[in-house]
């Protein structure tokens, strides 16, 4: 299983990378939305993308819109992981094409429960 983790915070990439690694995911990192798109072109379709909302150059919402515009990535599983917690923002992310939404802070268990919902939980 492979996950693409997109976050401008090195600390957050490290936390998510560690959790996903423990869940036996191979982790590929990117530092913003544009970088994430490049990574997708390099590695092809991962099993899961975890993407932050607020990032320089290209934010998570624009990343999701760009990904969904490509037919090859229509069914890519994307979970937004963000400090944005208003109802309107959750709705906006879903409308843009996010498959799931996780509000920071979270724990490893929260991630596992979300992966179970998404059908990409480790065996």
């Amino acid at each position: 299983m492979r996950a693409l983790v997109i976050d401008d915070s090195r600390a957050m990439r490290s936390i998510l990378g560690k959790i996903m690694g423990e869940l036996r995911y191979e982790v590929v990192e990117a530092v913003n939305g544009r970088h994430g798109l490049e990574r997708l072109r390099e590695i092809g379709k991962p099993d899961l993308v975890l993407v932050d909302w607020n990032m320089p150059e290209m934010n998570g919402l624009d990343f999701i819109r760009a990904v969904r515009a490509d037919r090859a990535f229509q069914d890519l599983v994307i979970m937004m992981v963000t400090t944005e917690t208003e109802m309107a923002q959750v709705a906006k992310a879903l409308e843009a094409g996010a498959t799931e939404y996780l509000m920071k802070p979270f724990t490893k268990d929260t991630i596992i429960e979300k992966l179970a919902l998404l059908g990409v939980a480790p065996a």
């Binding site: 709705a91 879903l94 939404y101 929260t110 429960e113």
Partner: protein, 274 residues
Amino acid sequence: MALSQAAFEFARTLVRQRSGIVLENEKAYLVESRLTVVARNEGFASVDLLLEQARTQPLNGLQVKVVEAMTTNETSFFRDVQPFEALRQLVLPDLIKRRAQEKQLTIWCGAASTGQEPYSLAILLREHFPILAGWKVNILATDLSLEILERAKRGRYSQVEVNRGLSARLLVKFFDKQGLEWQLKEDIRRLITFRQLNLIEAWPWMAPADVILVRNVLIYFDVETKKAILGKVKRLLRPDGFLFLGGAETTMNLDDGFDRVEFERAGCYRLRKS
């Protein structure tokens, strides 16, 4: 400060007598950590002092608070996923067919805790079974703790709680944001009746149930209490109804009146045909 053995023994006996829940020696840490919060809220300098007061003045309400603090269990929306998949794919379609004439369903959550389980059920019914809109659906949610039931009734959850097990799509559809909390919409809340019930005491009259959930609560009881509860469940469940137990629970070696329904790890049972 470590809990004294005498204080632990008192707490253990009290919890056992009131709730039937057995606290083994290695649970002393749990008693201490849960009761530290109660001690602080009630103005005691230590858990020992709180328990001393609860022992010498049994009528001042502290005993109830001690028991409630020790019997509140962790929960989440759509906990364990599989039981809800079994309900969606197997149990509810089956019951809807069988009850097509009477158009009535009765569901009982026997360890409702802070409400995530009955609300998950209500959401599942709304989301996947629009046919039930014209039916009489009774969801009864009971728990030992009055304080917990009050929380459950409000249907308000923290961000951490809605992060757990609930999809963002359902969050947007069935909740309103109230300040920092998320509250279930009124039309979901009113589907559920909350009532206090102690599983180890005599049960009040309840309507025969099509589905009974007593999940993740039997594990706390000793064998005799488990048998007694399963015996009462057997009498309350309609002959073609379904019982759900927690992932670590079983009727095996306790009551041979049930057959396990093969559905992943749903913990689903039916009454054995005699």
